[in-house]
Symmetry: D5
Subunit: 147 residues, 10 copies
C-alpha cells in the first residue's frame, strides 16, 4: 500500500520528466491550481473522479488511486516556518492577526473564517515596478454558537 | 512620551464612546480599513498627514502625534497563535505553505512575496449558504539575487 | 472601560458572596451551564439580552455590559496544561486524537468537527462504584472543500 | 517479535484490502468502535479473548497476538497537534479548560475526571443544516485525597 | 476576596514569626506534614474542619477561610524544574520512568498509579555515612478500561 | 560492538520467550527488581559479577558483557513525559515539588536528596477498595557547601 | 531524480578529491565565493549558465543539472544555532538587533533591509594583532507600504 | 541607583525632545553611530570619558553616570526575533550560517569570528533602483586551541 | 519579611555607594569570593555567623538576617543563557559535555561530579598575550549505587 | 569519504579492543587527555602531526586522516542536557552564571572568557571523605570593544 508521500514523489518525477506545470495538471483535471497542488503534495484528498483524471493524465500506476483518495493527516514540520517564502505568510499572520480579528469581526460579528470550507488562489498582477503576487483566501464565516 | 500601546488604548476608548467602526475611521483619514486598523493597533506607522487627520477626526490629544509617527516594533505574543480566528490563518500557512511555494515560484521564478511592499483587504461575500470572508493579500514579488 | 477579566472578577465576587452556583446563574439567564460559565470567564461573548439578564440577576454595574458584549480573545496560558483536571482532557486528545480522526472520518468523510458551531455539556452519572463525569461535545461536521 | 506499529500496519492493510470499517471490526470482536480503533492503532492493549477474535476475524498471523496483548506506551508526536481534526479538540481543551474545571468541581467537589477509568463514543446526529459530530466522554470522578 | 497566594504569604509570615515548623502545624491540625505543607502552599484544598483548626492555631483572619476551602489550580512555573532539590526528582522520573512502567505494570497489569487518590510522606533515615531522605508515594492502581 | 539498546532488545526477546518477569530475573542475579529492570533497560551499568549472572541466567551471548558493563548515557525522549503512567510521576513532581523542598529542608537543612546515591522500590499494597502502588525513594541527603 | 543534498555531497567529494577551494570554484563559474558556496550547499538555485559551468568545471554528472536549477527550500536545523562560528552571528543579531533597527530606520525611514535582494561577502583584513574577518551584507532597503 | 533601562528611557526622551539623531549624538561623543546607539540602548558600557561627554551633550543628570559605566547584561526577549527588520538578519544567519562557516574557515583555518573584539557599521548606498543598506561586521579571527 | 531579591538589591546599593568589591566583602566575612558573591546574589544561604559578619560589615538592617539565612530557590531565567559571558560556559558544557563524561568516568568509574558538595574559584593568570581567566570547579565524585 | 562520526566509532572499537584509556592515547600523541578525547569524539580538529600520531598509535586506516583534519561542526543534542554527569555542569552554569559574571568582570573589566582560546583539564583529588573531581577551565579574557 503506497503512502501519500510516495505518490507525491511519483507525481514530482513525472511532472519533471514531462516538463509539466501545476497549472497544466490542474487544467487537465478541471480543478484550481492551488487545490491541485496541495492535493498532489498530499495535503488534500482527491475525489474519485479527480483521482481517475490525474492517474490518466499523468500515467500514474492504478495502485496510486487508493492513496489519492485517502484522507490526509495535515501536519507540518516547523512550528515557526523557516523557508523565506513561507515565513513571510507567517509574519503576515503575526503582524496582522489582531487586525484581521478586528476587521472580520466588525464586518461579520463574533466568529471566525473557516479554514475548511475554504478556497485560495494565487494570481500574478503585472506591474512595471515589479510584478505582484496576489493571494486570495475565501472562507465561510462561522459565527460562535451560544447555547 | 506616550507609548504606542497607550495611544491604542485611547483610540479604543474613543471608538467605543463614539460608536465608530474601523471602516468609518479609515474613510475619515482616506486610507484602507486594514491598514488603518493595523496602524491604530500600533503595528504600522502613520505618515504626517494621516496622523493629523486621525487626531482631528477622533479628537486625540496633540501629544499622541509623536507616537503615531513612531516606527513600530512588530512583535506578537504567541509563536503559535491561539485565538481561533487568528489560528485558522496560521493553519492555512501550515497546511498550504508548501503549496504556496510551489505555485508562486512556478508563476514567478525563485523568490518570495514581500510582506513589506504589501497590502491586504478584507471583504464580505454574501452567500445564501452563509456569508464568506475574502482576504486578499497583494505583495511585490522579490526574486532571489545571485551575485 | 472595564476589561473582561475585571468583569469576571466581579462576577466571582458576587457569586461567592451570594453563594450562587454556575448552574443557578445559567438558569437565571436561560442558557446552559457550560456556556454561561465560559462566557462569565470571558471566553464567549454575551448577546444583548443575556447580558441584560446577567446584570440584573447578579446586580452587576451597568457599565459591565459593554465588556460582556465584547468579542473575546480566546487564549490560554500553558500550551500543555498542568492542572490535573485540565491535563486529563489534553491527555485524552493526545492518546485518542488519531482514533477520533479515524472514527469521525469513517462516519462522515474527510472533514472535521467544528469547535465554533459547537455545544458542550457536563453531566453527573451516579454509579455505586463512584460517580462518573459525562462530557458531551456536539459540533457541526465541516467537510473539506475541493475547488 | 513484532512491534505494535507493525501489527497496526498489518491491520490497516487487511482493512483496506477487505474494505472493512472500524465499526464492522468492532462489532466482530464485540467491543465499541472507539476502543477497538484505539487498540488497533496501538494505544490500548487487547485482552486475551478480544485478541483472539481480532486475529480470527481479520486473519492476522498468530504471532501478532503477543503484540496485541502488550501494554502500550501512549505517546504522541506533536505537543500542540496540527491536523485540523485533532487541533479542534485541543482548542476545545484550551478555550473550555477552566470552564470544565469550574463546572465539574461545582458538581462533584475537588477532584478530576479519570482518563483511565474512561470510555468515549462518537455518534452522528443527523441535521438538515449539516450533520453533527457528537463525542461523549465518560470518566470516573476521582476526588483528591487529604491525608 | 483573598487569593490563595495571599493566604500562603500570610501563613509564611506567621510561621516565621512564631518559629513554627510544618510538622508542628500539621500536628496541630491532625494531618500529615506533606499534605499540610502542600495545602498551605495552595496546592490542595482544606476541608471545613482542617481550615478551622489552621485558622485557630495560626491566628489567621477569618476571611482566609474561603480561600483555604477553594479548589486550587495546580500549576507550576518551569516545565523542566531548575531548583536542584526539585530537579533531582524530575531526573528520577526521566531516568526511571520506563522502569517504573515495566515494574508497576508487571505487578498490577495495564494501568497507572493515581496521582489523585494519592498520599506521600517524607522521612529521615539516620545513617552514619550521611542521613538519607526517604520519600514514599502511595497511589491507587487504576487499570485501563476496555469498552 | 553491541550497543546497550541492542542488548536490551535481546533481553526483552528472551524474557518474553521464556515467560520471565523482571522479578525473577532480579532474584536470579541477587539484585532488586527496580535496579535490575533499569539496568536491563540500559539506564544503569552492571558490575562484573551481576553481568556474569545475568548472561548465565538468560543465556545471553558472551559478547553482551561489554555493553552491560558500559556506563550508560542517561537520556529520555520527552522533556514532559506523555505516557500516562510516567506523566503521573511528573505531575507529582510539579504539584509537590515546592512541598518536597519545604519538608526535606525543614528536616535536613539546606541541601538536596541525591538521585545518584539512591535506591527505589515498588511494592503492592493490597486494599479492598483497589490495590495501591507504593513507590519508595531513598537518597542520601547532600548538604550545600559553603566555602 | 537527485536531491539537492546528494548533489552537495557529490560536490564535497570532488572538492576534496581535487583539493579545490570554494574560491577557485567561484572563480571558475564567475560568481562570488559566498553565493557559490551557498548554492553548492543547496541554499540558492543556480541559473542555467552557472549550472553548466559548475558541471563542466567539477566534472559533475549531467543529471545533477536539474537539482542545481531547482528552487531550494531554505531551512536550518537549530532555531538557536550551536556551532560557535554560527552562534556568534546569532549573538550579534541578539545583542545588536534593536541597534540595527534604530540606525537603519534613522537613515532610511520605516522599513527593512531585504534578505532576498541581498548580497554578502567575506574578506580577510590582515592585522598584526590577529587577522580580522570582515563580513559585508548589502540588501535593498524596502519601505513599509501604507495603503 | 538608576537601572540601565531608566537611563535609556531618559536618553530617548531627550533625543526626541531635542530632535537629535543617533548620528549626531555619536559625533558629539566621538564614537561610531552603531556603538553609540547600542550603548545608549544599554547593550554596551560607556568608558569614563564617553559617559562624561554624553552626559554633557544631552544634559543628563550626573547620577546617570554610574549606570552608563555599568557592565550590561546582554539579553534579548525573543529567541527567534519577530520584528521584520531584525528577523531578516536572523534569516541571513539561518540561510547562510553554514556558508559563513565554510568560507571563513577556508580563508582563516579552524576558528571563529569574535563577537566581542568586534565592530559594526551601517551605511547607505544610493541606488536608482532603490537605496541599499550596507552592514559591515568586523571581528577578530580566533583560532581554536589545541592543548 | 524581606525577599532575598530585596536584600540583594540593598547589598548592591551599599557596595556601589562604598565602592566595595566582592573580594573585599568576601575577605570581611572570611569566605571565598565566588561563594560570597553567589550568596549575596541570593543563590546560596548564609550561615548564622557569616550573616552576622555581612550585616555588620555592610551595615545592613538587622531584619535582613532572616532572608540571608533562608534556603534559596535556585532558578534562572533563560534555559539557554544569552549574556555572552554566561553563554560561553554553556557552550563549553555543550561542546565538552561528552568529553567530561568520558574523562571523569575513566578516572573515577560510573558516577558524577556533585554540584552540591562543590566549590568553585575564579583566578586571573597574567599573560603577555592577554590575561587569562582560570575557573576551577571542585566537586565530590558520587558513584552510582546498585541495589 | 568517512564522516567524523564513523572515525569516532572506529576509535572506540580499537580503544575497547586494545583496552586503552583516553589518557594513554593522549600520552601517545603528546596532547592533553581532555583535548584528545574531544578531538576523538569529533569536537575538535587534529593537526597534521597529531593525526599522523593517532593513526599510527591506534592503527587506524590512512583514509581516516582527512576526517581527523576536518573542521568539526560543534553541535549537541539536548539544549538542556539530561545525562546526570553533564546536567550537573549545566546546573553550575545556571546557578553560578551571574556570579561568574560579577567576579570575572570585577577582576578583568567588561568582557568575557573565551571558549575558543581555551583549555580544560580534569584531575582527581584524593580525599578520605570521597575523592573529588577537579575541573579547571582556562580561557583568554576578551574585553569588549568600543568603536
Amino acid at each position: 500500500m503506497l503512502k501519500k508521500i510516495e505518490v507525491t514523489e511519483a507525481i514530482f518525477a513525472i511532472k519533471k520528466d514531462k516538463q509539466l506545470t501545476w497549472e497544466t495538471i490542474a487544467n487537465a483535471i478541471g480543478m484550481s491550481t492551488v487545490w491541485t497542488t496541495s492535493a498532489c503534495l498530499g495535503m488534500n484528498s482527491f475525489t474519485d473522479s479527480t483521482a481517475d483524471k490525474l492517474i490518466e493524465y499523468l500515467g500514474l500506476p492504478a495502485e496510486t488511486k487508493f492513496s489519492l483518495l485517502e484522507n490526509p493527516t495535515k501536519e507540518w514540520d516547523k512550528s515557526v516556518p523557516q523557508d523565506p517564502l513561507v515565513y513571510r505568510f507567517y509574519e503576515v499572520v503575526g503582524v496582522y492577526g489582531d487586525t484581521l480579528k478586528e476587521v472580520i469581526q466588525e464586518k461579520f460579528g463574533d466568529g471566525i473564517m473557516s479554514a475548511i470550507d475554504f478556497t485560495m488562489s494565487v494570481d500574478k498582477e503585472e506591474n512595471p515596478k515589479g510584478d505582484r503576487v496576489v493571494v486570495t483566501m475565501n472562507g465561510k464565516f462561522l459565527p460562535y454558537n451560544a447555547w
